[in-house]
């Protein structure tokens, strides 16, 4: 299989998470202090790099069948989470993730917090806000980089996709100096959910011992089928909504993340 689907999937998944991390970093930097914000971001990126460097080569030592079974199961479960959320958001059962309002929430909290200096960090609040934001959003990317990269025996290609997404989002963020609220996050999450679920199904079944008709070419059918089924569920859930134009506004099933 070519490295292109791997790089593209990791790129899109990473771009979505990078947009969310950028919102937090901008809120900390523009409201509090840039130096401490960058320190927090740098430490978080270093931790993520260490996790990839340690787990990436270790996981590739596992036998391919066992690796595909475990990683396939994890990717399918993880991908279904993304798909479920994206479908609930697309149909109005869960509120859409809004970068502009998320930014305002962070700015309000950052303005209210008191300044405290610890060691070389001048503003501890800005440091921890930036560190936590980048680390938590980055962990999802690390998970995708390691699972996809290990299965394809090409962690390097996955890292290239992730790094490219971080650079693109960071450069755009620096250029506009505002949260990237116009990025169609839900559509991107829907696409990533489809890819993660499809690869999870494919590798999981292979790891369990099944052989796909057409081998790797089965993915060319599996990905569109997963997309069609997901779109089908979206249409089915939208229909009752369209039939009730006077219904109350969308209620949140769980807090938006």
């Amino acid at each position: 299989m070519s490295a292109l689907p791997l790089i593209l999937t990791v790129f899109v998944a990473c771009a979505v998470e990078a947009v969310e991390a950028l919102t937090i970093v901008l809120a900390a930097g523009l409201t509090r202090e840039w130096r401490s914000t960058f320190q927090g971001m740098a430490v978080a990126l270093a931790v993520l790099a260490v996790v990839v460097a340690a787990l990436g080569p270790t996981i590739t030592l596992l036998p391919l069948t066992a690796l595909r079974l475990v990683v396939g199961a994890l990717l399918a479960i993880f991908g279904l989470q993304w798909l479920r959320k994206a479908i609930l958001r697309a149909t109005g059962y869960k509120s859409l993730h809004d970068e502009a309002s998320a930014y305002l929430r962070e700015v309000t909290a950052a303005k209210a917090a008191t300044a405290e200096s610890r060691g070389r960090v001048h503003d501890w609040y800005a440091f921890t806000l930036s560190f936590k934001g980048v680390l938590l959003e980055g962990l999802e990317v690390v998970f995708i980089v390691i699972t996809f990269g290990a299965n394809q025996r090409d962690v390097g290609a996955a890292v290239i996709g992730a790094a490219a997404a971080v650079v693109v989002v960071a450069v755009t963020g620096v250029a506009v100096r505002a949260p990237l609220a116009r990025v169609p996050e839900n559509a991107l999450k829907f696409s990533v959910g489809i890819m993660l679920t499809s690869f999870g199904i494919f590798w999981g079944a292979e790891g369990a011992g099944a052989s796909w008709p057409g081998n790797d070419a089965a993915l060319l059918v599996l990905v569109p089928v997963v997309a069609l089924v997901s779109l089908g569920y979206t249409v089915l859930l939208r229909r009752p909504r369209a039939a009730r134009p006077a219904a109350a506004p969308a209620s949140e099933e769980v807090p938006s993340s």
Partner: protein, 69 residues
């Protein structure tokens, strides 16, 4: 102990998420596929996708039941 519990809760939420039943269906589907392939000699490649689609539909139905968007 409290820290261990919160770390466990974080990883559970990270991997399993809002609906643990989806994870159970995926794991059961893979186990059944392995059983069919190795014990019965059936190339059950179709079982995992079918179970995944059913699990997604079931989970969405549970999440939206009784909710009027």
């Amino acid at each position: 102990m409290k820290r261990l519990r919160s770390i466990g809760a974080f990883w559970y939420d990270f991997v399993v998420g809002d609906d643990w039943r989806v994870a159970v269906v995926v794991v059961a589907a893979l186990a059944l596929t392995a059983l069919l392939v190795h014990a019965a000699g059936v190339n059950a490649w179709w079982l995992v996708p079918l179970c995944v689609f059913a699990a997604l539909g079931w989970s969405l139905r549970r999440a939206t039941a009784g909710t009027r968007p």
